[in-house]
Amino acid sequence: MRYAKAVLTALILLAAITSLCVQGGQKTEREKVVIGVIGPMSLPEGMAEEKAVKLAAEEINAQGGILGHPVEVVVGDTKLDSNTASTEFRRLATIENADVIIGGFSSGVMLTMMETMAETKTLFLADASSPAHAKKVAENYERYKYWFRVTQNNGSTFALDLADMVRFLRDSGYDVKKVYIIRDEHVWTDPVVEALTPLLEEQGVEIVKDVRVPRGYSEYEQLIHEAESLDADLIMPILAIAGTGDILTKQWATLKPNILLAGHDLAAIDAEFYNKTNGMANYEIFLADGGALITAPPTEKCKEFVDAYKKKYGHYPESHQAYGAYDAVYLYKTVVEMAAKAGEKDPFDPDVLVKYLEKFDASNPIELTRPIAFYKNHDLMWGDNYVRNWISQWQDGKQYIIYPESVANGELKLPPWIE
C-alpha cells in the first residue's frame, strides 16, 4: 500500500511536470502590452515621466489599446544610482517582461542602463543628454541599436542654442560684445563651452571670464560684481547641477546690474520658477530644454497633453521629461501599428521596431508634443523644425518663446534698469 501511494504521487508529479513542459513549449498568446518607465522616482524628472506615461497609457487604453491589447505600465526607480538603475532595468525587462522601457534620467546612469538594455535586447526610448550615448550606437550599432533619445537634444547642441541666443539679442538691438559665463563644475559643461567659444568668436564676441561653480554654490553677488567690473554685457549661466540658478536670478534682480541674464539655467524652465523667486525671474532669458513650454506649446498635441496633465494631476508637468515620456508611448504605439500594417510576423519584436523608428528621419518627422525625428545614431534631431531648446523669456509670470520666429509667441523685453 505504501508503495502504491508513492507510485501514485510520482505519477501525479510527472503529469504535472509534463503538463507544464507542454505549456512552455506552446507559444503563449499576448494578453497585454507592458510599458516600463524608469527614472529617479523621488525627483521631479522621474515623477513627471511616470505620470506622463500613465496618462498616455490611460488615453490609449480608452481608445482600445495597442493592436487591441491593453497597455500596462510598470515602474522602476533608479534612485539616481547606476547599480540600482541597472537592477531595476533588468527587473522591468526580464521579470515584468516590458516590451519597451521609457525614461532613464541622468547621463551617467544612462550609460549603465544601456549595457543592460543591450544584454536584454529591450527597446529603450530614452532621456539624458550626453553625446556619449549616441556615440555608442554609432560605434556598435548591433549592440546598442535599441536605444533612441526621445526626451531632449544631445547636450552639445546647447552651444548652438546659446550662440543663436547671442545672435538674436544682437539682432534685436542689444549689443553683446563681452560674455561672462557662470557654469556647473561638471563635465557636461566642458563640451558646451568648447563648442560655444568659436561660435561666439565668429560673432566677434569675447568670453571675458568663464567661472565654474560647485554644487550648492550661492555667492553669485560677487560674480555679478566681477562681471560688471569686466564690462560684460551678458551673464550667461550654464547651470543644471549647481541647483542654485534661483539664487543667481534673485541676486541679479536685486542688484539690477546693467547686464542681461541670458543662458541655460535649468531651474528657469520650471513653471513655478516665477513664484518661487517671488517674481524676480522677470526678464530672465533661458533655454526651454526639451523643446516645449507649458505656456508656449509648439504643437496642438502638446497643448492637449499639458491640459490633460493638469486635469489629471492638478498641476502642470514637474519637468520637461514629461513631454518625452508621453511622446515615447505614442511613438511606440505608432511603430507597432506600422509594423503590423506592413505584415510583420511579430510587430512587437524590438529588432523589427528599430527599423520603423529609424523611418522618422529629417524628411519624415512625426508630430507628437514636439516634431520628432532621429539621426542615424538615434540621437534626437535638432533644429527649428524638429526639437531644439527654444530661446525663451520670463515676462510678468509667463514663459514666452522669443526665438526662432517660426514658433515664437512673444518678443524680447529688456529689463527697465538696462540702459
Binding site: S42, L43, P44, E185, V211, R212, V213, P214, G216, Y217, S218, E219, E221, Q222, L223, H225, G243, T244, D246, I247, K250, Q251, T254, L255, K256, P257, A267, D270, E272, F273, N275, K276, T277, N278, M280, E318
Partner: protein, 284 residues
C-alpha cells in the same frame, strides 16, 4: 584695492554672521548637554519653509517669521525629548538626530521637490559703498546676526540663566547638586539654539534660497566651524564663523568660486593639525 577689501569685509561678515548663528547654537548644545545634534540643519530649513509658506499664503510676513522661529524651537524640543532616554549613549544620539534630519529632509523633498524656495527680502534696495553695490538685506542681516550673537554672548556670560548654563556645561552633576534644574537648562539651550538656527535660515532665505539639501550644508558648516572654534566654546564658534566667512570670500575673489568650499575645509584641517583642540578649545 579698497573696493576689493570692502567687498571682502562686507560679504565675509554677512556670511560669517549667518553661519555664526547656526554654529553658536550647535556649540551651545554640545557644550551643555554633550549632544551632537545632527538635526540642527533641519531647524535651519524648516523655519524658512514655514515662513515662506505662510507669507506666501497671505499672512503677515513678520508673523510668518515668528511662526517659522516657533517651529524651529519646537524642533529643538523634539530633539530634546527624543535624545533624553539615550543621552549617555553618544552613538545613539547621533543616530537618532541624523534619522530625524533625514526624515525631515525627505518630508520636504516629497512635498516641495528639490527646487529651492526664496523669500522676498524684508528690506529692499541697494546701497553703493565706494563703488561696491551692497543689498540692504545684507546690511540688515549683518546687523541682526551680530546683534543676536552679541546678545547671546551677553546672556551666557552676564545673566543668572547664563551662569546656570555655564555651570551645567562644566559639570551637570555638580550643577544638579547645587540646585540647578539641569533638565530645564537642557530644554532652554536646545530650544534657543534651534531658534537661532531657524533665524539664520530665515535670513539665508532672504539673501539666497533654501532647498531641502541646504540642511546638510548648514550642518556641515556648523560642524566645521564648531570644531575650528573648539568644541563647546561659544566664543570660539562665533569667531571661527567669521574666519570661515572671510576665507570663503577671499577664495572666491582671488582663486575662483570653484575652490571656495575646498579652501575653507582645507584651512580648517590645517588649523586643526597645528592646534588639535581648535582655536578656543581646551584639552580635557
Amino acid at each position: 584695492m579698497i573696493d576689493v577689501l570692502l567687498k571682502i569685509i562686507v560679504f565675509g561678515t554677512v556670511v560669517g554672521g549667518i553661519w555664526g548663528l547656526v554654529a553658536s547654537g550647535f556649540s551651545l548644545i554640545f557644550g551643555v548637554s554633550r549632544i551632537l545634534n545632527f538635526a540642527h540643519g533641519a531647524a535651519f530649513v524648516c523655519a524658512a519653509y514655514v515662513a515662506f509658506l505662510l507669507s506666501g499664503s497671505g499672512f503677515n510676513v513678520y508673523l510668518s517669521i515668528l511662526a517659522g522661529l516657533a517651529v524651529s524651537g519646537l524642533l529643538g524640543l523634539l530633539v530634546y525629548l527624543l535624545t533624553r532616554p539615550v543621552r549617555k549613549n553618544e552613538v545613539m544620539v547621533i543616530i537618532i538626530t541624523l534619522a530625524l534630519a533625514l526624515l525631515i529632509q525627505q518630508i520636504l523633498l516629497v512635498n516641495f521637490g528639490d527646487k529651492g524656495i526664496s523669500m522676498l527680502p524684508l528690506v529692499q534696495g541697494v546701497v553703493e559703498l565706494n563703488n561696491v553695490k551692497v543689498t540692504n538685506m545684507r546690511i540688515a542681516s549683518f546687523v541682526l546676526a551680530v546683534t543676536s550673537l552679541v546678545s547671546l554672548d551677553l546672556m551666557v556670560s552676564k545673566t543668572s540663566i547664563g551662569k546656570k548654563i555655564i555651570a551645567t556645561s562644566q559639570d551637570s552633576e555638580a550643577a544638579m547638586l547645587i540646585g540647578i534644574d539641569v533638565e530645564k537648562v537642557f530644554i532652554l539651550v536646545m530650544v534657543l539654539s534651534s531658534i537661532l538656527a531657524g533665524f539664520a535660515g530665515i535670513l539665508y532665505a532672504q539673501i539666497f534660497a533654501i532647498s531641502p539639501e541646504t540642511s546638510l550644508k548648514a550642518l556641515i558648516y556648523a560642524f566645521a566651524i564648531v570644531i575650528l572654534g573648539g568644541l563647546g566654546s561659544l566664543r570660539g564658534s562665533i569667531v571661527s564663523s567669521f574666519i570661515v566667512g572671510y576665507i570663503l570670500v577671499l577664495t572666491i575673489t582671488f582663486l575662483g568660486a570653484r575652490w571656495s568650499e575646498f579652501v575653507m575645509l582645507l584651512a580648517i584641517v590645517t588649523i586643526l593639525v597645528v592646534r588639535p583642540t581648535g582655536l578656543f578649545g581646551v584639552e580635557e
